[in-house]
Assembly symmetry: C3
Homo-oligomer: 219 residues x 3
């Protein structure tokens, strides 16, 4: 426990463990039994409730014993028993601003979680997944590695997103395996998204899908 | 850690954290790395195995920073990594007597879990859910917020209970989305339930469904 | 915390709790907030990342208050928040060599997990299950008690394996309830399995199914 590196304006519970390469801004709450490790940078005003593990090594058989990087933005809420894994070598796990991870949610190595995303209780995000902004994943949803989840999408409770599903922005998907249910009017209205913005974001989604470098095995 | 408020007849592991507004009867076991907080009242003879979080704030964007109430009855079994959340303001999270929550189960804010309910490993109960007595939820089942689960029901492993399903007392349901499989004869026999009791409990179920105050969004 | 019984060649984090009847070989890493208890024997070169609970009592209403046995082999990887339960009286929970349990995975009482098995994030293995060698269970899969999972099988993300499914060696299964998708050529090639070996292992699978002593209720 080395509270000083975190600055004077963070609350760190006396039982939390902060390893040597962790840095943080100010206004963060780090609760009981949290374990922050690896090459981890935390922004401002985040709350880690309790029993969180952040920055532990990638769950990847070639990377058990290598420390990767993790960056977390501002104003996030991270509840009990969540896990965020560091990237594999040269990669980066990136959590944006205003991200909510409810209890027991999990983000794997090399994921990018954009601003405003909500991962409900028990959500599991596989490695190298990109979740675009303001998406909402329901309780217990699971996402296959190398997937992309479009902006303003709603993934229903217990949905299983396999590798071939294409979750375009602004849609609601449900089921195992997941299927498209409807346009997510609720979110598009809430975030005041017009057709132009949706077309732009869909283009960005398509590019991200192309960019996701699938290993030979998944092609 | 303030063991005295818990009375002399409780076992509290030296690593457990009990915050100031927690009270307990006697005969409770509170194991390693448990975190009990908020306005929490615990009855007698409960066992919290380890890494439990009880009474943490509601997972509700309007209630991140408010402490609500939680009441837990007698003779409960709460296994590793479970979470029970406090109510939102003015509400109450209520766990009855002889409730079993197996490892990694989760009960959200403002839920009522009646006597004799079993929540298996990884069960997720959304906010404002009412689980009626002696129900049995299988491994990994998830229940949508504002739902009611009837007495003596069996919810199969991995079932997803959406908002519109009606889980009447004495039934077995399975699947994603869940569907009625059969009458739960096993439970009705075990608890010695006759037709009269089943009719009475079904009337209570129907009333609870009516009473569940759905927010505008869910209507 | 009694580090000496673990030998001088183990790393035990200062916050880990190791109860009196736990023994270990050498080269093990036992991370922050781990809780090892019961009649537990650990081999060599295992890594328990953090918040692991190993050897806690069986989740079985007749065995809440009895300590059973647990044996763990060599070279295992056990990630954050995993749980392994001890056997019921006279039984044995056995984890083989080179087993991988990713974060939040769970193995119940009296299970046998053979060498080389991978249990992904959030996998739930019910009581008395036998998982044969080199199987791979995807994120969030659940297995009914008294089941047998054949060698070199692949269980897809979110699959629910009910009591009547027969997961023969070398197959890929997906869905809720699970269904056979294809032969798992990937694993058979990777492990260099020829037809003769597959026939032998299938015979062993059939015998294990016969041997699994179902209680009257499940027959």
């Amino acid at each position: 426990m080395s509270l000083h590196r975190l600055g004077s304006k963070n609350f760190v519970h006396q039982t939390a463990i902060i390893d040597d390469n962790v840095t943080a801004g100010e206004g963060n709450y780090i609760g009981p039994f949290c374990y922050l490790t690896g090459n981890l940078e935390i922004g401002n005003n985040n709350r880690f409730e309790s029993h969180c593990t952040v920055g532990t090594r990638a769950e990847h058989t070639e990377h058990w014993h290598k420390d990767g990087r993790t960056i977390i933005g501002d104003d996030g809420t991270f509840r009990e028993h969540i896990s965020i894994h560091a990237a594999t070598t040269d990669g980066l796990t990136r959590i944006g601003n205003c991200v909510i991870m409810l209890n027991k949610a999990y983000v794997a190595h090399d994921c990018i979680i954009e601003d405003g995303v909500t991962l409900s209780c028990g959500v599991k995000i596989g490695g190298n997944v990109h979740v675009m902004r303001d998406s909402n994943l329901g309780m217990g949803a699971s996402v296959h590695q190398y997937q992309v989840i479009g902006s303003w999408s709603m993934i229903g409770m217990g949905s299983i997103i396999p590798k071939k599903a294409r979750i375009y922005p602004g849609q609601t998907w449900v089921g195992n395996p997941t299927r498209r249910l409807k346009t997510n009017i609720y979110a598009l209205d809430k975030h005041d998204i017009d057709d132009y913005m949706l077309v732009e974001e869909t283009a960005r989604f398509t590019q991200l899908i192309k960019d996701s470098e699938f290993p030979e095995r998944w092609k």
